[in-house]
Symmetry: C2
């Protein structure tokens, strides 16, 4: 077990911008030890009045799209050109990882990870998606209280994690490759509709023309989507982390979105809705954890599930049978 | 309380194709009376071995797209040209209805409702979405056991019900109007990605050209989506319930889809997955019903939810606090 401090000590360190205390507090909220839970909640509750003052950006894209390279280039742009203090958090349950983790990618984010204005936190290892998203959400609050006014939440783009990340950020950016064939890009159905912006990466050299063609195609496709509740029409742009180029256009989209959504009240409404949504989600998780860890449920579930799959028992009869056990 | 029979009597009637007994059995599964629950489950379990032999088609589209008229024309086509026996069920929680209910539409489905090969069942009145989808899923099984080999599940296209219907059918058909501007059609984001086919309705008279242009546009847009797990590329076609025309093309898509998905095993896999998904969904609903009906939870939830919305309490701390009450 890692070293523990008093809640006051964590909070004082975080508010003073102490990166070591911030890291330790994140480790605390990542812990699932029952003995840590109360302390973690005390810390979170104390920093809450100091949290919220950042733009929260979710970034997704399949392996190969150049996500780490993009985040490094975009992060440096935010720090150098926009004067931001940037935190980068990852949501990738290790068990589902196919490629390298953000920790392994540290060399690829070399300049960002040594920048005093940036704070990079890898995904907690060996966690379920529920555990990761829970601690990531609380980590956002801790980073904000420590003075980071831009938070990037990175996710891998092939699983369930996008929906969870979408529910904790203000702006969702989807990275795509030009001409890879969407079926090859492995983007899960539904993710494109979550995007507030799409950026075609690697728009340099021979790729530049292809990227521009892809931009037109995607912009056209997005016009077919129904208008988002925010009143925002998602933007498509091209960028190159290599040159670098196009990063200002992406930031402009974020700024325009913030301006629009703050003016029409959507920003505040979305944050409030997200807070409530996470409470209900946490309740659901808590109820299911209790239920599925019950001994009799664990014993009988596999057999009953098999009967349901094979159409020998109705789903609702099976549920009623299992619910009676607890 | 409606009249009740023994489970054996319901089952014998259903298997004999007795429409009155089928109706009564559906009323039974729609009941939320605790005293009816066990009997309903007994009936369902007994008919299960006789269920499953239909093609289950979900149909959605916003009010104004001509859904009832389409279903009547398509239903008559299925009966007359394809020799099907057709059941039509509706999933529209009354509280969320903006327009007329399928019951009120009965005159619009006049020829279908008097056809001995068709069985039309309106949405149960005054129910939550959870209650409607639960009873609709069981009603599908009852209709199949009564010999209906095509089941259409209709939903209204503006709410949460599409996801629920998508999870209970084999094939999902989205009806669209040409040139209405998608933002005006009110189709919820994400629904287009669920569609196995899109049919542009009212493709007759002056509208015919516009409908064909819309078809090309949608077909193009669908190419941008990632390939569905079924290996099926959604088809877009035009149709007119008035002429009638294009109904055979839509049925051809359904047939092609069935052939492909039965050959590659996706059909069977999807049905098994759906069964399991409904069991887990029913468990979740049961757990939440118990939790949220708990007296102390009901007393404390509003105040705690307000604190969470306003950022005075973290979502997870609030959830933990509420979970402790039960």
């Amino acid at each position: 077990m890692a070293k523990r401090f008093s809640a006051d000590k964590y909070v004082a360190g975080i508010l003073a911008g102490d990166r070591v205390m911030l890291s330790r507090a994140i480790t605390l909220v990542e812990s699932r030890l029952a003995s840590d839970l109360e302390l973690a909640q005390e810390v979170i509750n104390q920093v809450l009045p100091h949290a919220g003052n950042s733009v929260r950006i979710g970034i997704t894209g399949v392996p190969g799209v150049g996500k780490s390279t993009f985040i490094e280039a975009f992060g440096n742009y935010l720090i150098q050109e926009q004067g931001k203090r940037l935190a980068v958090l990852a949501v990738d349950p290790t068990s589902q990882r196919t490629g390298g983790s953000i920790l392994g990618d540290k060399t690829r984010m070399e300049s960002l990870s040594t920048n005093p204005q940036a704070f990079i936190r890898p995904s907690p290892a060996g966690k379920s998606l529920g555990g990761v998203t829970r601690s990531t959400r609380e980590s956002i609050l801790l980073c904000e209280a420590a003075g980071f006014d831009a938070v990037i939440v990175e996710t891998v783009g092939v699983g369930q994690s996008e929906t969870a990340v979408h529910a904790m950020v203000d702006f969702f950016l989807l990275l795509m490759l030009a001409g890879a064939g969407d079926e090859l890009q492995g983007i899960k159905r539904g993710i494109m509709e979550m995007a507030d912006a799409i950026a075609i990466t690697k728009a340099d050299g021979e790729n530049a023309m292809k990227a521009k063609a892809a931009r037109a195609e995607y912009q056209n496709a997005l016009h077919l989507y129904p208008m988002a509740a925010s009143g925002w029409l998602p933007k498509v742009s091209v960028c190159s982390a290599l040159e670098p180029s196009g990063l200002d256009t992406i930031w402009q989209s974020v700024s325009d979105y913030l301006k629009l959504s703050q003016q029409n009240g959507f920003f505040e409404k979305k944050r409030r809705d997200q807070n409530l949504q996470w409470m209900y989600e946490a309740i659901r998780q808590g109820l299911e954890e209790n239920f599925y860890s019950h001994q009799q449920v664990q014993e009988q579930l596999p057999g009953i599930a098999r009967q349901v799959q094979e159409g020998q028992k109705s789903a609702f009869a099976a549920a009623a049978e299992l619910l009676k056990l607890v």
